[in-house]
Subunit: 129 residues, 2 copies
DNA sequence: CCATGACTACTATTCTTTTCGTATATTAGG
DNA sequence: CCTAATATACGAAAAGAATAGTAGTCATGG
């Protein structure tokens, strides 16, 4: 019986790294770094450090067989989005998932979006059968 | 014409303060502090400082007429939730509100929740007419 | 074989957020 | 009045996140 589930919510910079990983799974630091630098430049060691920290935290795993370690995200994008969401529901929506959806759809939902959501609900109920 | 809209996303500690304010609008630092301490204790000046910072940032306004300043949130809980959400949609959901809703409803939506959402969608379309 | 380039580890710096101590002013009770 | 309680302001320490520099190692092409 585990005491407290370690919160797996990545920080902002970590999320950027994860995005790259999700696109091109196992990857070396070098590859990840190049990809990140397309958006905004930083030192190679910054990316490296980031990966090392994420490894300690258990956000990524790596293959150390060769000199250049090869990284993979441990949690999928979907899983991560879910944990970000549930963290947020707790902190900013009084624990109510419904409130979050209301707020998200609330003001600016287009007619099209609305029917998309309807379809989603339909398929959710299907699966429940 | 304003250049860049200042992001109004409160930090975690700021959000805690805001929650108290939304419950018992205008309030003194003392009142806010007592309320916060029910959850977790901290120094009075910590709460004070928090409010001062939030004031500078334009998250709260205050009445300085009397010695004990009286604070009010500038943005409603709904507005704040919206900006937190849109911030998050940008950063973690590739800008897709739909994806966020999918993720939120995805796994654990109960039958009851689903029908609640349907009702919500109905009323959204009503308003659109 | 060895010099050069590329890799990891470690440490330090910077920036932001959060927390708190101290100084100073104001108010109210005895 | 004057002391004790309570405010604000200010500065700075502490904690967390992000960035970067340096040292040492490995591997490989010339």
């Amino acid at each position: 019986m585990s005491k407290f589930k370690k919160k797996n919510v990545p920080t902002e910079a970590e999320l950027e790294v994860l995005k790259v990983l999700w696109k091109t799974q196992p990857a070396t630091v070098r590859q990840i770094h190049e990809e990140l630098n397309k958006k905004q430049s930083s030192a190679y060691t910054t990316t490296l450090k980031m990966l090392q920290i994420m490894h300690e935290k258990g956000l990524v795993e790596r293959d150390e067989t060769n000199r250049a370690h090869i990284y993979k995200a441990i949690y999928s994008e979907e899983q991560t989005q879910s944990s970000i969401l549930s963290n947020m529901i707790t902190k900013a929506f009084g624990g109510s998932k419904f409130d979050l959806v209301v707020r998200a759809l609330g003001e600016t939902a287009s007619t099209e979006e609305i029917s998309d959501i309807r379809d989603l609900l339909d398929s959710l109920e299907e699966n429940k059968k």
